[in-house]
Subunit: 389 residues, 2 copies
């Protein structure tokens, strides 16, 4: 496989185009303590904003991105952001989350690779990249880093915190850990606690990356162009890509079509590919070009560790801390975060007297529908934000 | 990872204990032509039998095994078979498929590694193992090899051909390709054509094996003990293991329990494992000890190529060839071969006037339920066999 045009790491680093990014640098004298007991110094968080914060800072909305997302929620492709925003259809002037009304913020998670401190960042003590030294983080750590950014932006309380998948995990941790700082929340296609099956998928992807000799225990940043652990990352991504979609959509789109092969199977080889394999390759390749493998590992582990009940006794105890009016969105065909998980959040909150609404997106697209069916996602969010403003 | 006690290949080879196996050697002057255009010479098929064939050979039942199965359907562990039969609860004296009544046969598929000709067999031309030279095979090839065995056993017509998962694919090919040689069929938790999602899972597993440097493009048979491509095979197996089970059973069994870790996450590492990861490791390890990686690849590819309509115009045309009374079993929680696939087979056959019955096994265990819920699987089979005898 020739992948000579790939970047060495897939991570943003100082000197690359900044695009619309801004950076919040945590003060040197305020190290950042992690759930796992480690401490990070000189943390930076990359973020973008749209719209204007009003005088009493009451129109601020925080959007939390998913596993391989970044701060570029909306806006055209630009230097430093090779593709348009990942929620372009939901956020922008005149869109469901209208940036003429709302001041919208999204930050790259800590541990990420699109501007925030992560494995591809230089360790302040020796100037060498963290690489395998970067500690395990949790969803709560991501949220605590966002709290510092929130303080620096002069925002006391978000009108809403909104996010899907891993973004939804952050949304729930915001409401449970910092109930006084969120007025409303919108968790989408997410769960209160990672399930054993979700953890299993994560673990298999990690093993595939570890098996790649080019991963070199995470110390691959000096690799020549195209010599990074791309194959391991591509396999991990393929696993996600199947769980992000649905059986029916795959069948409709690909059926059983073969590539480069006549129907009598003459001369058929073990590595001749079906159309669906080409599709998976394409998605693996795309990720490789823009994402750092060590960040993929660190963020994936954080998702597997996700449990809003951790240290809070029971799930019921944890959810009892949520007071914010809540809009929960689920997706009918989601096989990775099945709707029973969102319905559980909604019904437990309702039972506690929280103003909670559950809306199911009727889509064949599986988990990824929140990034595809913009109309169905946008409409209930728009109504919910207006009702609660 | 120390795996010093693993066999070099996981494949049975001459000189290892035979156990209850017999061998059908195809005559040297009758080479075996494959769907893919290649020809195999000196083919051997390993098989086992239970019960007694009656005078008019009308009580014979063929059982077809799944991906990593073998001929040892029933019977105690013995030399050459380290575990009891894989369908011990369904087949045996007094069981649903009663070996006091029926003459039961099961053969290891061609391409397999438990006695039949496969990648770990010596090529007759040079005496070196086939390894990567072993050609791609199809489910139809497996069935054609079974037809030769059938002839050698003096059986004109099977009273029934029975099998689950890949075994069910063979069952369908038997009924479509050789309608005069099956009186009835019992396809279980299977499909008429592999779907794009099923193919995707297969392809990802193949990529993981190829990524293992110890696979060495399939030429690993001279590896020292423990130096085979076990990690790649284990990852491929983990993928299967998740799709073979269900979200609910995983949650009930493992929840979110961690291994070797206290609840405050202090000192948490990237490779600290959850309970479910230990379970997946265990299953990967078990497979490694008994299964050859090249066979895993070859058989997996055959499943991905499965399509009873291939060369027959349409699925409707293909199913029109089936005349045999049919019992189709599906499993309520099967995420890999969802019940819509078995219902489709049943309804298309019924529409054509075939005596078809669909029974759904109500189990939380997912695809593997046909290897677990013996009572629910056995009862309808027993009734069906008696009704059609």
């Amino acid at each position: 496989m020739t992948r000579h045009d790939y970047p060495a790491t897939g991570a943003w680093f100082p000197g690359m185009p900044v695009g619309g990014r801004k950076f919040a640098h945590f003060p040197e004298d305020r190290p950042f303590a992690l759930d796992g007991g480690k401490v990070l110094s000189n943390v930076s968080i990359a973020y973008e904003t749209w719209g204007t914060l009003n005088a009493d800072a009451s129109n601020a909305i925080l959007i939390c991105h998913a596993w391989t997302g970044d701060s570029h929620v909306t806006g055209a492709a630009e230097e430093g952001h090779p593709t348009p925003g990942w929620w372009e259809g939901v956020v922008g002037p005149g869109k469901a989350i209208d940036t003429n009304t709302w001041f919208v913020v999204c930050s790259n998670v800590i541990g990420g690779c699109q501007g925030s401190t992560g494995p591809a960042t230089a360790h302040p003590e020796d100037g060498q990249l963290y690489a395998s030294r970067f500690p395990v983080i949790t969803i709560r750590d991501m949220v605590r880093a966002q709290v510092r950014l929130t303080d620096m932006l002069g925002i006391r309380k978000w009108h809403s915190v909104v996010g899907g998948s891993m973004g939804g995990m952050q949304v729930l941790e915001w409401a449970v850990t910092f109930p006084d700082r969120v007025k409303t929340i919108v968790p989408i296609a997410t769960c209160a606690q990672a399930t054993a099956q979700q953890i299993a998928w994560g673990a298999i992807g990690r093993r595939a990356i570890r098996l790649d000799p080019k991963w070199r225990n995470g110390e691959y940043y000096d690799a020549a162009i195209g010599e990074g652990p791309w194959e391991g990352l591509a396999i991990a991504r393929m696993i996600s890509q199947v769980t992000f979609r649905s059986d029916n959509v795959f069948t409709e789109r690909f059926g059983r079509a073969l590539v480069d092969m006549d129907v009598d199977y003459n001369g058929l080889g073990l590595w001749d590919r079906f159309e669906v394999e080409g599709y998976l390759d394409h998605h693996g390749d795309r990720l490789i070009r823009r994402f750092d493998t060590n960040s993929y590992l660190i963020i994936g582990k954080a998702m597997d560790l996700h449990d809003i009940a951790r240290g809070r006794g029971t799930l019921d105890n944890a959810l009892s801390r949520i007071k914010a009016p809540t809009l929960v969105l689920g997706i009918s065909s989601d096989i990775l975060y099945p709707t029973y998980q969102q319905k559980q959040i909604h019904s437990m909150l309702s039972d506690k007297g929280v103003d909670s609404t559950y809306v199911e997106i009727d889509s064949p697209h599986g988990h990824d529908a929140f990034l595809i069916n913009f109309d169905q996602v946008g409409a209930p969010i728009k109504a919910f934000l207006e009702r609660t403003f």
